[in-house]
């Protein structure tokens, strides 16, 4: 049964929500070409929800979407829908709705937005999701994703597959990593069996590899564009970059994503005709790095920073979103590379690896200050931030600000307090420059 209304029906039922979202979306500064891609995702999700022959598979961040595509399954990405809803500024009632269903206030706001929106039958751009035919997930980013999908699969009576991604820790050696990679590869074979069983189709390595070729191309283009963020001034700041990552991360239309990124790259090459690495031009007054998830509802924060001459030009979060970094040519080689990229991800590095990684990026992106987002509903990403702060302050000698907020729940955003802290942070960066 389709559960997702058309935008028109949604507008008729929820005119206030619709207008609030439209107003807030117009504040984001997202290029029209990118906005058009998101509208296309909404359209395709809506269509997939209504075609009985087309299966919809919900996946969580870090799962190898290419397996879904190899079975002609439309990839629904509830986390992305929760992000869009955050940008649209309509999350709070959805979160409260999910809390009314029994989900604790301390739990992930992405999850609650999506569950709330699905229960209220909101379309994707407002946080909802078509009820999928199957769920695939992992604990690679957090346990919540795996348990969120498990709960939803149970609620909707759908099959569910969870991939167990071993957690990297400080001091792991190659022998340990090898055990982890093998485990990942075995689970990818399990995933194939699961998808064969659910779809009744046989897996085609050839088809899979043709999809991988495209996803690697998309990822390569994304990373090539990413390099231009080192330039003065950077072509992309966090508030746009966070949306810019989705066409390659969500993989709902690889051809469309290739076309979009190629076009963007062409424009950048023209704009910076001397390549991505040379830093000719005038730098931003303060170039910032941001660790952790963005504040989806918090465009005003980024605008405030910009007014003070501060721009976020690098985030491990959006950089790590590029999962197919290395070209591979055989099936076995591809699975191994996917396993490596799943475990050795910028976003989930252990502390001992994370510190030099940050130092390196601070130099490469000419960073003046670092913001660490201590995210109230994402504890795994917030663990270890005090140690990271102490180490980076000592080694890179730049000001660091820890912000206690939430990625999608505006109730955790104390505007006055945060503005004061931002002002002090800017002063510290200014002093540090002098």
């Amino acid at each position: 049964m389709p559960n997702m209304p058309s935008l028109l029906n949604f507008f008729i039922k929820n005119p206030k929500v619709f207008w609030t979202a439209t107003k807030n979306n117009l504040q984001q500064g997202i290029p029209l070409s990118l906005a058009a891609l998101f509208m296309d995702y909404q359209k395709k999700s809506y269509k997939a929800n209504r075609l009985p022959a087309r299966k919809v598979g919900a996946f969580s961040a870090g799962m190898p979407v290419e397996f879904l595509l190899a079975f002609d399954i439309f990839p629904a990405f509830p986390e992305a829908y929760a992000c869009m809803s955050g940008q649209a500024g309509v999350t709070q009632p959805l979160i409260e709705h999910a809390e009314g269903m029994g989900y604790s206030r301390d739990l992930c706001s992405y999850m609650k937005v999506n569950i709330g929106a699905m229960n209220k039958e909101y379309p994707c751009n407002f946080g909802g999701c078509p009820v999928p035919d199957l769920y695939i997930t992992s604990n690679g980013v957090c346990d919540t994703q795996a348990k969120w999908f498990e709960n939803e699969a149970r609620r909707h009576g759908r099959p569910y597959f969870a991939m167990d991604i071993p957690s990297p820790v400080s001091g792991s050696d190659d022998a340990k990593r090898e055990i982890d990679f093998e485990y990942q590869i075995s689970q990818m074979h399990d995933l194939i069996k699961f998808l064969e069983k659910v779809t009744g189709k046989s897996f085609s390595e050839e088809k899979f590899m043709s999809i991988i070729k495209k996803s690697q191309e998309v990822c390569g283009l994304y990373l090539e564009i990413y390099e231009y963020r080192k330039r003065f001034p950077s072509p992309l700041y966090f508030e746009v970059q966070r949306a810019f990552m989705f066409p390659q991360f969500g993989m709902w239309d690889l051809d469309g994503a290739i076309k979009y990124y190629r076009n963007m790259l062409k424009k950048l090459k023209k704009r910076y005709n001397d390549g991505p690495s040379k830093k000719i031009g005038k730098p931003e007054k303060y170039r910032l790095m941001w660790e952790g998830i963005t504040l989806w509802y918090g465009i005003d924060l980024y605008k405030d920073l910009a007014k003070k001459g501060a721009y976020v030009v690098y985030e491990p979060y959006t950089h790590a979103a590029a999962m197919r970094r290395t070209k591979t040519f055989t099936f076995d080689e591809t699975l191994r590379q996917m396993a490596i990229e799943n475990i050795s991800n910028f976003y989930t590095l252990d502390l001992e690896q994370r510190i030099p990684f940050f130092e390196q990026k601070i130099t490469e992106y000419s960073i003046d200050g670092l913001i660490l987002h201590a995210n109230l509903s994402c504890r795994p990403s917030s663990t270890g931030l005090q140690d990271l702060k102490a180490a980076i302050q000592k080694r890179a000698k730049i000001p660091i600000l820890i912000l206690n907020c939430d990625m999608d729940d505006p109730r955790a955003y104390a505007e006055g307090q945060i503005r004061n802290r931002i002002d002090s942070f800017i002063e510290m960066m200014e002093e540090n420059k002098n």
Binding site: M101, G102, Y103, S104, D106, L107, N139, C142, D143, T144, A146, K147, W148, E150, N151, R154, R155, Y160, A162, D164, P166, S167, P168, V169, S170, G171, S172, A175, K176, I179, D180, E182, Y183, S186, Q187, D190, D350, L351, E352, A374, L376, R379, P380, S382, T383, G384, L385, Q386, D387, N404
Partner: protein
Amino acid sequence: MEIFAYFDTGHEFPEEIVMAAGFSPVKILGNVHVGTAVADEYLFSYFCPFARGCLAEALGNAQNWVGIGFAHGCDATNRHFDVWKAHVGKTPFFWVNTPMKVDTTAKGFYGKELRRFIQTLNKQYQIEIKDEKLKDAIRLSNEAKSLMKQLASMRTEKDISNSDYFEMTRKAVQTPKESLVADLKAMLADWKSRDPFPAEKVPILLTGSDVTFVEWMELLDIADFRVVRDDLSLGERYFTATIPEMADPIEALVAYACSIPQPATRMPSDSRMEFLVKVLDETKIDAVVSQNMKFCEPYALDAVWSVAAIRQKGYDVIHLERDYTPATDRQLLTRLEAFKEIIQQKGGSRNA
């Protein structure tokens, strides 16, 4: 015997390997009577207070431990490992990535992970953990588990307070196993001589986050609830099954870990629910108390459906959120007392 301490959010850590290495495994449970300020320097106050309590304990006591083992529990455990490693003195650290799943693939991985753990211990302490030693440790562990099971089964018939039961489960993970067996035998004799189950007490099943300090069990005693069954790691998960005695002791440990009722940190949660249903079917209980320690996400995620599923079976359930404090929470107590009145008016869920 030297103490090898371990941090484990469930019952995942393979104590028997540490025993076979010649050390005494002791589970770190934190001290709820001591503040977590020393740990809060490294972990935010909105993180699991139990984990912060454990780090505080390690920061104070690690010099007395020969090693510290970490079992992969909830999703923040690996980063907790990093934080501990950076701050808890020079004690050697060991990571055991217990799998999230229990299928054939996960079993294969876990076997390799346990063998790697043994190799690391051998190298660190210049020892050789032989299969025979591991089998001896398994036998000793099983003896303790069997005694605990006998003791726990007496909760439905005898006057065994919640705090007595808690003390038995705490001892099991903090006492050298040789002396534990002697203590459990003495306890068995004592419990057998106890008065019958008190008529005024309401027999309950306790589920949720692990209870790691006796004061919370005492709160249930004050409210006249008597925990006769549970699915906690400091509880039935620890002793509901014994480790199979197989030719390959590693395979035995893997089989054991994958067959016991799973905690909320493992997926899928079906086997957890199956165990709860089995418990409800085999024991006469009047109600279910589900409790979630503040910021314990795995159980908060499970509770939404598990509480509903228990209700669907016709049981009265109360779901509570609790803090990590030894102080009596009067608000919780009031809720528990009101719940007890409802149960008693109905003559117990099953007899309503």
